[in-house]
Symmetry: C2
Subunit: 397 residues, 2 copies
């Protein structure tokens, strides 16, 4: 159909509580590195897409502020938002511009500076992104509560335990300990996780992703330009998108993450991949582990495990390097951090570097199939994006 689209440069800020920089300086850390890797000047790009959910400070129009600081005012730009999947939506918009022939070189920058608001305000504001009127305003549900509903339903139905949830945290912290850009670049023990305080039973502090500031950027190019700029482009093979009602009470059950499943089916359909056992097609994956239970639900939604068996993958350590399907080798949202607008772009950065075999030893996947999967959720499953990256140019183009 459209033209093939490749990523030719990546940049990533240190994730964490970044009170040392403003939002433009934070974004610049990633933009500068992405341009440098691509061997371009930022002024060479035809268009910019900004992924930023915003709302944490009283300043608006982050796109314009970012471009001005980077010295590229004038460039075509717009901002994209899909809650916690904002970064993936930005990559989709940039992909389409290049595939359509509207642009040859596009910069995508995802950024979020969440710690400008105090933590209780952030928790409230994220809560409003649940089902606002019925569940947040009337019942006071915030995101830990939402995911606790998932966790209790799952544990009750399938026999998973709090230990199983904590095993996800232990794995992702293990990987983060080798990722210097992670918010928490350190390992934890199962006991530490189990002894951490409850946030919303059965979820504990260590089951939860932190409130993180961070930025990530990629330079994307048409095939012609990609061939000129690099010997090792990473291609976008497929993007599947879906949405769902925000109302958990209207979803058929808490055990199947419906938008994620639908997004995966759509992404896989273009590639002729069957969803059951899909892990055989990928060297590694990122899934949206905003809470540990979310990672287990994602295993099942992506077809890595049958319904009700996702927790066994982590119990059997099949999602570490060397397992059936290594997952969240960068530490995931859980330990790398989850600066909302940056997360989907950060996944893209990780996938490019993993596929090119250049991440830190110990968390580098073995690259045999040359293909990887990134799964990014917005809200409690309001949005889902599944993006497949690969070393070979996609065949249909």
């Amino acid at each position: 159909m459209g033209r093939a689209v490749a990523i030719v440069g990546t940049g990533h800020s240190k994730f964490g509580v970044r009170n040392d920089v403003n939002i433009a300086e934070l974004a610049w850390e990633a933009m500068r590195e992405a341009a440098s890797e691509a061997g371009i000047e930022l002024r060479d790009v035809d268009q910019v897409v900004v992924g930023n959910a915003g709302g944490w400070s009283s300043e608006y129009l982050s796109s314009i502020v970012l471009l001005e600081y980077a010295g590229i005012s004038g460039k075509p730009v717009y901002r994209v938002e899909a809650a916690c999947a904002t970064g993936s939506a930005a990559i989709k918009a940039a992909h389409d511009a290049i595939a359509a022939g509207e642009a040859d070189l596009v910069l995508v920058v995802g950024v979020e500076k969440m710690n400008e608001s105090p933590t209780p305000i952030v928790v409230e504001m994220i809560g409003r992104a649940g089902n606002y009127f019925w569940e947040f305003e009337n019942f006071g549900l915030t995101f830990p509560g939402y995911y606790a509903l998932y966790a209790t339903a799952y544990m009750s139905e399938f026999g998973a335990t709090e230990e199983d949830l904590c095993r996800v945290a232990v794995k992702n912290h293990h990987h983060a300990s080798m990722n210097p850009k992670a918010h928490f670049p350190r390992a934890i023990t199962l006991e530490q996780c189990l002894q951490s305080r409850y946030v919303a039973w059965p979820l504990k502090l260590y089951d939860s992703s932190p409130i993180t500031d961070g930025a990530a950027a990629v330079v994307m190019a048409s095939e012609d330009l990609a061939r000129k700029l690099t010997d090792s482009p990473v291609w976008i093979h497929s993007i599947g998108m879906a949405s769902d009602t925000s109302n958990l009470s209207k979803r058929p059950d808490f055990l199947v993450h419906r938008a994620s499943r639908l997004a995966a089916e759509r992404a896989f359909k273009k590639l002729g991949i069957e969803i059951e056992g899909s892990y055989k097609h990928f060297d590694f994956a990122n899934v949206h582990d905003a809470f540990t239970i979310a990672e287990i639900l994602a295993y099942e939604a992506m077809g890595f495990a049958k319904l009700g068996e996702g927790y066994k993958l982590v119990r059997e350590e099949q999602t570490y390097v060397g397992g059936l399907i290594p997952v969240n080798l960068d530490g995931g949202l859980k330990a790398k951090g989850h600066p909302i607008g940056a997360t989907g772009v950060s996944m893209a950065v990780e996938h490019v570097r993993q596929l090119q075999g250049r991440v830190e030893k110990g968390r580098q996947a073995e690259i045999k199939r040359g293909r990887s999967l990134a799964h990014n959720v917005g809200g409690t499953g309001h949005y889902a994006f599944v993006t497949v990256y690969g070393l070979d140019k996609p065949r249909s183009r």
Copy 2:
């Protein structure tokens, strides 16, 4: 390059103070009509793009709320924002998805429900979309003040008068008087405008666009599908985008609207149109008349008049039906209203209906060239989008 993209259905809510509906009901008025005109069911679309700036109420994630109310939860969707040019950015994103072959049928809905906040809050929040730190926070500039700076510079340099500004308002109210969907569907006299109270000298109440609630929607399709759905598709010929610093104090002067000029040049380049005298290529145009001075600056930025001579077009009534280039035949932002996320989509609705010769008598342009221009600004010129619509399929595709 990419595939040709057509609009096959349009929908438009009544604009005004719409306390009778919530945001989903408001959007539905436009979505329902667009689907009906296209002869499709909403569930037939491959993707939805939502244009909504938001921030007027405590509810987030408007996209999800809209889809749920319309009964199409599950559809791929994301939200796009480019300040007051949000609607045009949404059309650009949808265009690219179809041109790239990623989707065949896309619904774009632009919506804003601004009157959920009290007027002083709305004025403050829009003010933050100027240059936040230096100009808004330190000097208290809000948008009437920004555009007053444009107006005083322009009047001082070129000899335009307050009467000339009011002539824009009189013209746009004249057109709005024939548009039942307009916020103010009534004519005003020059005296009424001149006697209205100052908001920021030399701009008066009647020089200013109102705070409006409204929604607009279009169904966009690939060529194959468009041919099946309608005998009279309207094609997107070209989209030009640009940005600029938010800092008025850093722009070289107040007399040239730089982002608008750049966006027009980019849109025209694809079509081989020279910017000087560009009006010869169009049957009519919409320009971004957030304030009356903005319409005059836009005439010059679009190449309809030489620098410093835009006010003569309105003095000579050349932008009425029958003039050199009829402008804002729907009443414009000034009298039709300016619900931020809806405005760019509302322009698209107007252009399709004008080109098809089916708007109200008296404000219908004579269609000879079969081509029209829509100009949409975000901020004080932070963003600009120029979209060219046409009755013939674009030649290069």
